[in-house]
């Protein structure tokens, strides 16, 4: 069953005195319930426009964005509130996505109060402490501010904040690309564990194909506003059929000096020939 579906979505931006920009061109994307689906593309490919259309911040020029059968741009009142609770986001840079003047308790617990999921502040504190333990932090961190945490810990806070309201769909926009390699592995494992434990659905937006291969069961590749390839990530990454996917794969750095040098040599010879 699909939880999120984009059908023939087009989005054109108009600006005075310039050619209109076609940010999305007939995008079809299905995210099956209970899976981690990857969306891969470079800067300017339309990833952000897709996220904004899922958030209801951009209305598609044509086509539909449906969550659990609801057309997102049309949603109002209680329905909109339900979507706002069930669809949560984790962004790339936890330093700018967390309000520096709020404590961890306030940050993680904000949604609990907004959606009236807890009876009062005492219950909120208890629930936030549970969430922190779940993501590998502790109740000692409740009264601390984001600045006193490392990048990886901040991203854990952002994940706890998203999970607090019990989402069904988690949209992660490059959640690990700002992190160190060792921390990146910790956060990826955390996401994978949480997803297995709680069974929510993830749309995972990334540019690093090795990361996608590690955690996504399906992957869609987007180039210049069009999905150029889509399928099980094992198949797509083992035998990409579209030249763009092939080019992306060929650019992934290999932690193997002999292979990397051979590739560098091949690239230089390509240029000479």
């Amino acid at each position: 069953m699909s939880l999120l579906e984009l059908r023939d979505v087009c989005k054109t931006f108009h600006a005075l005195g310039r050619e209109p920009v076609k940010a999305l061109r007939d995008v079809n994307l299905t995210v099956e319930a209970g899976t981690i689906t990857g969306l891969v593309g470079e800067s300017g490919s339309g990833k952000t426009t897709i996220i904004k259309s899922i958030m209801g911040l951009e209305r598609p020029t044509s086509g539909t964005v449906t969550y659990d059968g609801i057309n997102i741009p049309e949603a109002k009142g209680e329905t909109l509130k339900r979507i706002r609770r069930e669809v949560q986001f984790v962004f790339q840079d936890p330093t700018s996505s967390l309000n520096p003047r709020m404590t961890v308790e306030q940050l993680v617990g904000e949604g609990l109060l907004v959606h009236k999921l807890v009876a009062g502040k005492a219950q909120r504190r208890e629930r936030v402490a549970e969430l922190l333990t779940m993501v590998g932090l502790s109740d000692r961190d409740l009264d601390r501010y984001p600045r006193s945490f490392s990048g990886g810990q901040r991203q854990r806070i952002a994940i706890a904040r998203a999970l607090a309201v019990g989402p069904k769909l988690l949209v992660c926009d490059e959640p690990v690309s700002a992190l160190d390699v060792s921390v990146q592995a910790q956060v990826l494992n955390l996401l994978q564990d949480m997803q297995e434990e709680l069974g929510f659905t993830v749309l995972f937006i990334a540019h690093d194909l090795a990361v996608v291969r590690q955690i996504c069961s399906r992957v869609a590749v987007i180039q210049l506003g069009q999905i150029v390839e889509e399928g099980p990530s094992e198949d797509v990454l083992a035998a990409p059929s579209h030249p763009y996917t092939q080019a992306l794969l060929a650019a992934v750095p290999t932690p193997n000096p002999a292979v990397a040098r051979a590739r560098a040599l091949a690239r230089l010879q390509e240029k000479v020939a």
Binding site: S43, Q184, Q214, P257
Partner: protein, 343 residues
């Protein structure tokens, strides 16, 4: 003729690098803060580079890698530096600011992570690429000619007209080429590149690295590449030095480091990289986080996170010793007082 007394002068003479060395950093120690509350950011860091050498300095955020690179250029006047930084026969730490200006951007070029932050949005690309030459008194016509030629060398099409453009009109990859052009225009013998490709898309990252590879080979240019990503290191550098909590803990040739990493921290870093050529059910991680410089554990700073730590690691900080693979490693697993061989 060497006696064991080791007067300071003799010690100094022993340390003098051989003439084939371009850069020789010896016991560089960097401290910040007031005299009362001083933080040691980098502790007795040493590194040698020959002309044309390409060395990577790898470590997590806070390991001291960027601070080290910036200290070589003396970019942070508030930090207290000790040790020596011999570059082309002179100790950079002994130069005054005026002499240092002649080194910065002229003999040593620097490339930073974020090209938008490194470029002035109100100046044209051409003005910025020419700036190092103009400062040292080269004529405008000659500067323009050289700026055009270096931009062309870096694959900027229509260099002459693009020089009149502003940074916002360039893509991320093109901006990084401009920053590289600024670093190269005075024909330096060393480039320090601090995470030059981290902010870029994979394909652009590959283009920039390929370009740096080609240019440095053609010019015989030495490159010190600072990064947290071991993946980008493999194809580009000859040698890798790994920093942890302000100290160099591992150094080896790139092949030895990837095939047989000596330090447990290096082993952990390598295992944490997701691989496109293989899948594992779960990525292996290094548990915990690096210590704060004010709160380093006694003994080896890595011991709380190390799967092989034993009693000695908790009390004594390991010295750098030759590693089995021909590099150096600071780990008791390889020490005379510990076991003979690491696992």
């Amino acid at each position: 003729m060497k006696t064991m007394t080791n007067t300071p002068a003799q010690k100094d003479a022993e340390r003098r690098p051989d003439p084939g060395t371009l850069l020789s950093v010896r016991d560089l120690t960097i401290e910040a803060g007031s005299k009362e509350l001083s933080v040691r950011l980098v502790d007795h860091f040493s590194l040698d580079m020959a002309p044309g050498d390409r060395v990577a300095l790898v470590g997590e955020s806070g390991s001291g890698k960027s601070v080290t690179a910036r200290a070589i250029m003396r970019l942070d006047p508030d930090f207290r530096l000790s040790g020596t930084v011999d570059f082309e026969g002179q100790d950079l730490l002994k130069l005054n600011e005026k002499q240092m200006v002649a080194v910065r951007g002229h003999k040593i070029g620097m490339v930073f992570q974020d090209p938008m932050g490194a470029l002035n949005p109100l100046m044209t690309i051409g003005e910025q690429v020419m700036e190092p030459l103009r400062i040292s008194g080269v004529s405008r016509a000659e500067s323009e000619r050289r700026a055009k030629s270096v931009l062309e060398e870096l694959g900027v099409a229509n260099a002459e007209s693009r020089m009149k453009a502003y940074p916002h009109e360039f893509s991320g990859g093109m901006r990084q080429r401009v920053v590289l052009a600024m670093a190269l225009i005075s024909d330096p013998s060393l480039i320090i590149a601090d995470e030059p490709t981290t902010a870029l898309d994979v394909r652009v990252q590959e283009q920039v690295l390929t370009l740096m590879d080609k240019v440095s080979k053609e010019r015989g240019l030495a490159v010190l590449l600072i990064t947290h990503d071991l993946g980008t290191v493999a194809g580009f550098t000859d040698r890798v030095a790994v920093m942890y909590s302000g100290r160099k803990v591992d150094e080896a040739s790139v092949d030895a480091l990837f095939s047989n990493p000596a330090h447990p921290y290096t082993q952990g870093l390598l295992q944490a990289v997701p691989r496109i050529d293989q899948t594992v059910p779960r990525l292996l991680t290094i548990p915990g986080a690096p210590p704060h410089p004010l709160n380093r554990p006694t003994g080896c700073a890595f011991s709380p996170r190390c799967p092989f730590a034993f009693d000695l690691c908790l009390v004594e900080s390991p010295e750098l010793r030759p590693s089995p693979e021909g590099g150096v490693v600071a780990c008791h697993l390889y020490g005379a007082s510990g076991k003979d061989e690491g696992s």
